[in-house]
C-alpha cells in the first residue's frame, strides 16, 4: 500500500516549521549556554571515526605513524614532527588508555604502508593481556569506515569546535543520567584534541598530584589483576610481533618501539613489576628490534611530568624535538 497523504489539508507547514525551528534554536542555545556557564568548552571529541579518519591517511613511505596510548596522544607535537622532518606525513593513531599491539598487527597487513611506525609501549603493554586493546578501532576502520562517514566526521569536526553540546559526553542522555542522580556531572576535562588527533593536556585545570595518585592506584590495581608473567614466558609470547615488524620492514618500512618518560610511582611500580633488563631490553635484544627508552636520555628524564605520566601542552614541542633528535642520533630514524 503506497503512502497516502491528503493534500490541501489547510495545515500551515510554514508555521509548523517556524515553531519547530524556534524551539530547536532556543533549546540548543539554552543548553549550550548552560554548558559554557559550567566551564565546558567546545572541542573535537575523539572517537573511532576520528581515529579512522587518520588511519585512512596511513600510506606511503613518508608516513610517520605514532601508535601508543595517552603518553603519545598527548605528548607528540605533530607540527614539530613536520618541521624537523620536512616532507613527512605524521599520523596520530595513539588511543587514550589502550596499548597498541593490535594496531601494529593491522598495519603489518596494510600493503600501502611502508613508512615509519613509532610504537609507544612499555613491557606491561606488551603482555598478551593487552593485545586486543586497540582491536575495536582497527575493526571499525576495516569493517565500518566508509566515504560517507569520512565526510560526516569532517563536518562534525568543524561543528564540534563551535558547539560544546556536540560532545557525546555532554549530550542529553549523559546529562539526564547525571540530573537524575545516577552518575556524577560530567567532569571538566583538561584534555583536548585537534581534528588531526593531536592531543594536549592543560594541567592548570586539574589537581595534577591527585591525578598522579589516581594513576598510581590504577596501575597497582591493574598489576594485581594482570600480574606479570615470568620473563621467559612473556618473551616467548612476543614472537608474533617480530613477524609483524618484519612484514613492514620487507616493504621498506621501519618500526621503532619506544618507552616514553614516566616518573615517581609510575616509574617505580613499572620497574618493580617489569624490571627493564628482564623484560623490555630482552624483548629488543632477543628479537633484534629497534628500541628506544627514555631512561637512557638525561634531558628527557628531566622533563617535568605533572601527573607523573604525561607532559603538559607547553612541553610537547620540546619533548617531541628531543625524542626525534635522539632517535636520529641513535640511527633509528
Amino acid at each position: 500500500m503506497l503512502l497516502s497523504i491528503s493534500n490541501s489539508s489547510g495545515k500551515s507547514w510554514f508555521m509548523t516549521g517556524l515553531l519547530a525551528a524556534t524551539i530547536w534554536v532556543f533549546c540548543l542555545f539554552l543548553y549550550e549556554s548552560t554548558l559554557r556557564a559550567k566551564g565546558h568548552a567546545p572541542g573535537v571529541a575523539d572517537s573511532q571515526q576520528l581515529w579512522s579518519q587518520e588511519r585512512g591517511r596511513v600510506s606511503g613511505s613518508n608516513a610517520i605513524v605514532f601508535a601508543g596510548a595517552s603518553r603519545t596522544l598527548y605528548g607528540i607535537d605533530l607540527g614539530t614532527v613536520q618541521a624537523l622532518l620536512p616532507g613527512s606525513k605524521p599520523v596520530m593513531l595513539a588511543l587514550n588508555g589502550r596499548y597498541p599491539v593490535a594496531t601494529l598487527r593491522y598495519l603489518a597487513e596494510e600493503s600501502d604502508f611502508n613508512g615509519t611506525l613509532l610504537i609507544d609501549i612499555d613491557a606491561r603493554g606488551l603482555a598478551d593481556y593487552y593485545w586486543d586493546a586497540q582491536l575495536p578501532a582497527n575493526r571499525y576502520f576495516l569493517e565500518e569506515w566508509t566515504p560517507n562517514w569520512a565526510v560526516h566526521r569532517r563536518i562534525l569536526n568543524v561543528l564540534q569546535t563551535k558547539l560544546s553540546l556536540l560532545n557525546p559526553r555532554l549530550g542529553f542522555f549523559p546529562m539526564l543520567k547525571s540530573w537524575l542522580g545516577f552518575s556524577p556531572p560530567p567532569f571538566l576535562s583538561h584534555a583536548s584534541i585537534a581534528s588531526t588527533r593531536e592531543g594536549s593536556l592543560d594541567f592548570d585545570k586539574v589537581d595534577a598530584a591527585r591525578l598522579a595518585n589516581m594513576f598510581k592506584a590504577g596501575l597497582e590495581g591493574d598489576l594485581k589483576a594482570h600480574p606479570p608473567k615470568p620473563p621467559k614466558q612473556w618473551l616467548e609470547a612476543l614472537a608474533p610481533l617480530k613477524v609483524w615488524v618484519s612484514s613492514i620492514e620487507r616493504r621498506g618500512g621501519s618500526v621503532i618501539f619506544y618507552v616514553p618518560p614516566v616518573s615517581g610511582h609510575q616509574f617505580d611500580l613499572s620497574q618493580e613489576a617489569y624490571p627493564r633488563e628482564l623484560y623490555w631490553q630482552k624483548f629488543i635484544n632477543h628479537y633484534e628490534l629497534k628500541g628506544w627508552n627514555f631512561e637512557d636520555y638525561l634531558e628527557i628524564r628531566s622533563l617535568p611530568l605533572p601527573d607523573s605520566s604525561h607532559v603538559s601542552a607547553s612541553m610537547k614541542p620540546r619533548y617531541t624535538a628531543l625524542l626525534l633528535s635522539s632517535l636520529s642520533a641513535a640511527g633509528l630514524l
Binding site: L2, L28, L165, L180
Partner: protein
C-alpha cells in the same frame, strides 16, 4: 550513505535543491539517478559497478522476455534471470555459510574440508535490490506489467536512493507510473516528507541507538553473567531497537522520497500491536512479507492444497524469509519459528474463534499478549551471535522465572530507561494500532506538531554518540 549522517544531510539538501530547480522531468530523473549512485558509492564505490551491471542485465533480459509470445521461451528467460540474480546473491551472501556447513558435514565423515572462502564484503542492500529486480522480472513474465524500454527509468527504479539499501521493497507496479509522469511537489508533500524524516531520525538516533542499543548490545554480547531478568531486558531492548532502527530507516526513506514527490509503500503499521502472527506479518516489514506472499507462497500453492501443503508452504516461505535476512542458522531458526507460529495459529483458529466471539476483549488481549511474547522470544534468535547463546538466553527467560520486583529495581539505570521506552513503544502502538503515522502527523494541529518536531530535533541534535549502522543494511 546513511540517513543519520551529516554527509547525508548535506547530500540531501544539495540534491533536493538541484532537483527542485530543474524544470525538465528527464533532467530531474538524471539528477536522481546520479545522486542515487553517489549515495551508494558513499558506502563502498567498488560495488557500484555490480549494482549497475546487474540492473542492466535484468532490464535487458526482461525486455527480451517481454518480446516473446511463447510461454516456454518466456519461462526460459525468467529462469536465466533467476539464475543470474540468485547466483550473485549466493556468491556474495551465502557462499561462506554454505561452505562452512558442507565442511562441518565432511569433517564428521572424516573427509578433508573445502578450503575456499570468499573474503569479499557483502554489498550493502544486495538482498533489497535483488528483490526489486526479481519482482519486476516476474511481473513482466506474468504479464502483470509491461517491460519498460527506458533503461534510465529502470536503473532509477532499482537504485532510487531513499529505498536502495534497506527498502521498502518497491515494485514496478507501484513506482513505474510515478517515474513516467512528472511529480507534483507542494507544501503538503515537502512538509510531510521533512516531518517523516525527522520522526525516522528520532526513532533511529534517539530510541534505537541511544536508548535500546547499549542495553541490547551489553547483554547479547555477555556470556555467563546473564540472569532471567537481564535476558528479558535484552530481549525487550532488542525488540525496541530492531523496530526503531528499521522503521526509523523506512520512515526516513518514505519522507525523503516524498520531499522529491514520490510515494513509497508503507512498511510498518504498529507491529507490536498485532493480535496474531498473520496480523504481525501484515504489519512488520510489509513490503517483504507481501513480496514473499506474492512471489513465493502463492506460487508454491499457498493455502489451496489442503492442510499439509499449506503447512509446508508456510514453513518454507518463512524459512526462506529467515535466510533472506542473513546467512546464519540463527536467522533460519527465527524464520522457522515464525513459520511454526503461523502454522499453529492456522491450526488452532477454529478452536479459539468461538471463544473470541464470546469474549471479544479478552480474546483480543490474549491474542495480543501471545503474539508479543512469541515475537519478542523469536527476536533472541535474530540477534544472538550463535544458536548456543540464543538457547541459553531463552532458557534463562523461561526457566529462571518468575521475576521478582526486587530484581526489577536492581536493574541499572540504562536497563530501566530501555524498559520504560519499550513499554511506551508498545503502548503507543496499541493506541495508534490502525492509524498510519502520516495520518497522525496530518491530524495534529500545527502548534502541537511544531512542538513535537522541535522537541525531536532538539533530542536528535543532543544525541551525538557513535553512529551505529542500520541493522537492515547487512541484509
Amino acid at each position: 550513505m546513511q540517513f543519520d549522517s551529516l554527509a547525508f544531510v548535506a547530500f540531501f539538501v544539495f540534491v533536493a535543491s538541484a532537483y527542485w530547480q530543474v524544470r525538465s522531468w528527464s533532467h530531474k530523473k538524471n539528477i536522481l539517478l546520479a545522486a542515487s549512485y553517489l549515495f551508494y558509492a558513499g558506502w563502498n564505490p567498488y560495488f557500484l559497478p555490480l549494482l549497475i551491471v546487474t540492473s542492466f542485465i535484468d532490464w535487458r533480459l526482461a525486455l527480451r522476455m517481454s518480446q516473446s509470445s511463447s510461454t516456454q521461451t518466456r519461462k526460459r528467460w525468467l529462469l536465466v534471470i533467476c539464475v543470474v540474480n540468485f547466483s550473485v546473491l549466493a556468491y556474495f551472501k551465502y557462499a561462506n555459510f554454505f561452505i562452512e556447513n558442507i565442511n562441518a558435514v565432511t569433517s564428521v565423515l572424516g573427509m578433508s574440508p573445502w578450503s575456499f572462502r570468499s573474503s569479499i564484503a557483502l554489498p550493502i542492500g544486495i538482498s533489497f535490490y535483488t528483490f526489486h529486480s526479481l519482482s519486476y522480472c516476474v511481473d513482466v513474465y506474468r504479464g502483470n506489467i509491461r517491460a519498460t524500454r527506458s533503461l534510465r527509468d529502470y536503473l532509477l527504479y532499482v537504485a532510487f536512493f531513499p529505498q536502495l539499501v534497506a527498502g521498502p521493497i518497491v515494485r514496478w507496479s507501484m513506482i513505474g507510473e510515478q517515474l513516467k509522469t512528472p511529480r507534483m511537489i507542494d507544501r503538503d508533500t515537502v512538509g510531510m516528507g521533512v516531518a517523516l524524516m525527522i520522526v525516522g531520525l528520532f526513532q533511529k538516533i534517539v530510541l534505537a541507538d541511544a536508548i535500546f542499543a547499549p542495553t541490547a548490545d551489553l547483554y547479547f554480547e555477555t556470556d555467563g553473567t546473564l540472569t532471567g531478568m537481564t535476558a528479558w531486558v535484552a530481549a525487550l531492548s532488542f525488540s525496541g531497537q530492531i523496530f526503531c532502527d528499521f522503521a526509523g530507516y523506512t520512515t526516513c526513506a518514505i519522507g525523503a522520497a516524498l520531499v522529491l514527490g514520490f510515494r513509497l509503500p508503507v512498511n510498518f503499521q504498529a507491529p507490536y500491536a498485532a493480535r496474531g502472527f498473520s496480523d504481525f506479518w501484515r504489519r512488520w516489514h510489509i513490503s517483504l512479507s507481501s513480496w514473499l506472499r506474492d512471489y513465493l507462497y502463492i506460487p508454491l500453492g499457498g493455502n489451496r492444497g489442503g492442510q499439509l501443503i499449506t503447512t509446508r508452504n508456510l514453513l518454507l516461505t518463512m524459512l526462506l524469509g529467515g535466510l533472506w535476512h542473513g546467512a546464519a542458522w540463527t536467522f533460519i531458526i527465527w524464520g522457522a519459528l515464525h513459520g511454526f507460529f503461523l502454522v499453529v495459529e492456522r491450526a488452532t483458529r477454529s478452536f479459539f474463534e468461538p471463544f473470541s466471539a464470546k469474549f471479544p476483549r479478552l480474546g483480543r488481549a490474549v491474542g495480543w499478549w501471545t503474539t508479543l511474547l512469541a515475537v519478542v522470544t523469536a527476536w533472541v534468535f535474530f540477534r544472538a551471535d550463535s544458536l548456543a547463546h540464543a538457547t541459553i538466553m531463552i532458557k534463562l527467560m523461561y526457566v529462571d522465572f518468575p521475576l521478582s520486583a526486587g530484581e526489577l529495581f536492581a536493574t541499572s539505570y540504562e536497563d530501566r530507561m530501555a524498559l520504560l521506552a519499550v513499554f511506551a513503544l508498545f503502548m503507543q502502538q496499541l493506541i495508534l494500532r490502525d492509524i498510519p503515522l502520516q495520518r497522525v502527523l496530518h491530524k495534529l494541529p500545527w502548534p502541537v506538531l511544531g512542538i513535537f518536531i522541535g522537541a525531536m530535533t532538539v533530542l536528535i541534535s543532543l544525541t551525538t554518540g557513535q553512529s551505529n549502522a542500520f541493522i537492515y543494511f547487512q541484509f
